[in-house]
């Protein structure tokens, strides 16, 4: 191993890959065979966390940051003057295996700039995965990027070795895509997605008949959208996310607050703040859609095209729909319980189980872990005390904000600070 050379390449290519937020290692059920190396963990493991608090679960690198495209938002675009490097296939394999053996990582996340042609690049990515699986008997997690515009045959092959495939849509609207990435067509993104989706469906149904049929991308597909680069509304983003969840059976859609990396008149300037709060609210909405039984139109619609910044989306929905409340936690069904602000799915589960034994009061709920500072205005339980006043939405919101503190509060507070 030429240590210094590898070190240099790793620094360049890890740095370029970090804007990909996906780092999930969950969802795969690959097991160790023949005393080989590795065993996927169904729930995924985060082995470390960066100083910005994001999970480090996979060795996330680019194969190369040479690229023939010139997408405005991307740090490795053709016209950007950055040091370039490229890994050899064997170098990536060695790094992955050695990191994995030391329990640093769950596996490999391999992406790449597009050199020569999409197919050529995709082929290289696949050869890394193939080598890991077949020569090293590696059963850890592999996440490969589908290169936009790669052929169906290659996408098929990729799924045989990878646990997850993803192609980043990056810009949620087609008009934004035309503006920021003029070389790419919308179809280039959706075609590989479509192919992978169909193959997953096919393999799943085969597996029902023949147990031993091989796995095809067991952890599914994901995609990512940049937030705050092309002036889209939260509604645009979430409707587009819903589309990808529905049409392509996405496991996850990631939202990445745009980190300004280049000077370009089409984009926010370097040094402008990363929209982290907005990103947070989008993820909350995403969770409401996937786990809490909300539909996107309830949270975002033409009257409310953007999410509230000062309260979470569920509370904001509840405040607009006070006629559903108060809910009795001892009798309401699961779906309705999940809609009470301050009660999460974990609490819903506990409440449903506990109320079979006795009627619950405030004390029980508090111990179970319900955030009563929010929930108290929207529910009744086995107690003589509940919110009897006829409060309107603004009043409730004011009282909740007054009695709570949020980590982003200073970003949206209209209260002037005394000392600056």
């Amino acid at each position: 191993m030429n240590f210094n050379r590898i070190r240099e390449k790793l620094n360049i290519l890890a740095d370029a890959a970090k804007y990909d937020v996906s780092c999930a290692s969950s969802g795969s059920n690959r097991t160790n065979s023949n005393k080989g190396l590795g065993n996927a963990s169904k729930m995924g493991i985060c082995h470390s966390y960066t100083a910005d608090g994001r999970c480090v679960s996979l060795l996330k690198i680019l194969l190369t940051n040479h690229c023939i495209f010139d997408c405005a938002y991307c740090i490795t675009r053709k016209s950007n003057d950055v040091p370039r490097a490229a890994f050899q296939v064997q170098e990536v394999v060695d790094l992955t295996i050695n990191f994995y053996r030391r329990n640093y990582i769950e596996g490999l996340f391999l992406s790449s700039g597009i050199f020569k042609s999409p197919d050529h690049t995709m082929e290289r990515l696949i050869s890394v995965a193939k080598k890991l699986r077949e020569e090293e008997n590696f059963n850890g997690y592999i996440h490969l990027k589908s290169i936009p515009g790669a052929s169906d045959e290659l996408m098929y092959e990729a799924g045989l070795y990878a646990d997850r495939l993803s192609v980043n849509i990056e810009v949620p609207t087609i008009s934004g895509l035309k503006l920021l990435a003029p070389d790419k067509k919308h179809e280039d993104f959706t075609k590989p997605m479509e192919k992978v989706k169909n193959e997953i469906v096919r393999y799943k149904s085969e597996q029902k008949i023949i147990k031993s049929s091989p796995k095809y991308a067991p952890a599914g597909q994901s995609t990512q959208m940049i937030v705050g680069a092309s002036g889209e509304s939260d509604k645009d983003i979430m409707y587009s996310a819903t589309h990808y969840y529905k049409t392509y059976n996405m496991k996850r859609v990631y939202y990445s607050g745009y980190v300004p990396v280049t000077h370009d008149s089409r984009l926010p300037a370097i040094g402008s703040q990363v929209p982290m709060l907005r990103e947070n609210r989008l993820y909350q909405t995403d969770w409401l859609l996937r786990f809490y039984g909300f539909s996107v139109g309830e949270i975002l619609n033409s009257q409310h095209p953007n999410l509230d910044m000062d309260v979470d989306p569920k509370l904001s929905w509840a405040l607009r729909n006070l006629h559903h409340f108060p809910v009795n936690v001892n009798t309401a069904d699961k779906r309705l319980l999940a809609r009470i602000p301050g009660i999460g799915m974990q609490s819903v589960d506990k409440i449903v189980k506990a109320r079979k034994f006795r009627k619950l009061n405030w004390d029980h709920l508090k111990k179970i872990g319900v955030a009563l500072n929010r929930a108290q205005y929207f529910m009744v339980c086995e107690s003589r005390y509940w919110e009897r006043r006829d409060l309107d939405a603004d009043k409730i919101k004011g009282m909740i904000l007054q009695n709570s503190s949020g980590k982003f509060r200073n970003q949206y507070s209209t209260q002037l600070s005394l000392f600056n």
Partner: protein, 258 residues
């Protein structure tokens, strides 16, 4: 009313289950169940030492398991927390469990049940953390070695995970606090008790027990860790929330920060 008795057991899980068996069998009015090195006799209770009996322990284990698989894992996880007074809590928990038909372990409105469930959850979280935070270092005699210092005694819980995952390499995970480790010799995992004097957790002093290549990979990993950080999104609070400081000295990427 019977005089109450404090039961003393040897500190093992089987010992605890035996104590539970004895308490049920002899209808003892239990004042407390204590491990022998932590015992403290009460003013108004007798003490009785229980000798571990695997047969009896097994009967209790099966008894609880027949009620619910979930309950037995809660009992085991909560026991490994080594929390003060957990034995008596568990005894109450088992009593309640046995008294009812089924499903008692789901009664989260009962404070004992909720406490045990939450304690088991904490231990489960520590187990998961250890699966993440173990950092193997390759020694010259080809053994991947790691130190850990978990809050709870989770080594028995993580051994399967590592056995399944690293089936083709020899490894040893050593609990610095409890002075024992688990060792995998390519066939079986066994418990080894060692008393290591100089614990290797300072990178600045390179030990010659480890290969040179080992330090190269540590450097690469540390570099990688640094370059994945996005400086404009820095959030130290979130970082320490995920990686609490007490674990830093065993993580090669955080050693410099210690």
């Amino acid at each position: 009313m019977n005089a109450s008795t404090t039961l003393i057991y040897d500190g093992s899980f089987n010992g605890f289950l035996t104590a539970v068996f004895v308490a049920f069998d002899e209808k003892i009015n239990v004042a407390d169940i204590q491990r022998n090195n932590r015992s403290q006799s009460g003013l108004f209770s007798d003490t009785e030492t229980v000798f571990t009996n695997v047969e009896k322990a097994k009967r209790v284990w099966n008894g609880i398991r027949n009620k619910s698989h979930n309950a037995i894992s809660n009992v085991y996880f909560a026991f490994l927390s080594e929390a003060e007074g957990v034995e008596l809590m568990l005894y109450t928990y088992i009593q309640k469990l046995m008294r009812t038909q089924s499903g008692k372990y789901l009664d989260y409105s009962d404070s004992t049940v909720l406490y045990i469930a939450q304690l088991a959850k904490k231990v489960g979280r520590e187990k998961h953390r250890m699966e993440a935070f173990v950092r193997f270092q390759l020694t010259k005699d080809d053994i991947y070695f790691a130190n850990i210092e978990p809050d709870f005694d989770v080594l028995p819980l993580i051994s399967k995970h590592f056995r399944d995952r690293y089936a083709d390499q020899k490894w040893l995970i050593y609990d610095v606090k409890r002075k024992y480790g688990i060792y995998y010799d390519l066939n079986h995992v066994e418990m080894v008790s060692l008393n290591l004097k100089n614990i290797q957790h300072n990178k600045t002093v390179k030990s010659d027990a480890f290969t040179n290549e080992e330090y190269e990979y540590q450097t690469l990993w540390n570099d990688y860790f640094k370059s994945t950080n996005i400086a404009s999104r820095i959030n130290p609070k979130l970082h320490t929330q995920h990686v609490p400081k007490r674990y830093w000295k065993y993580l090669s990427e955080k050693k410099e920060a210690v």
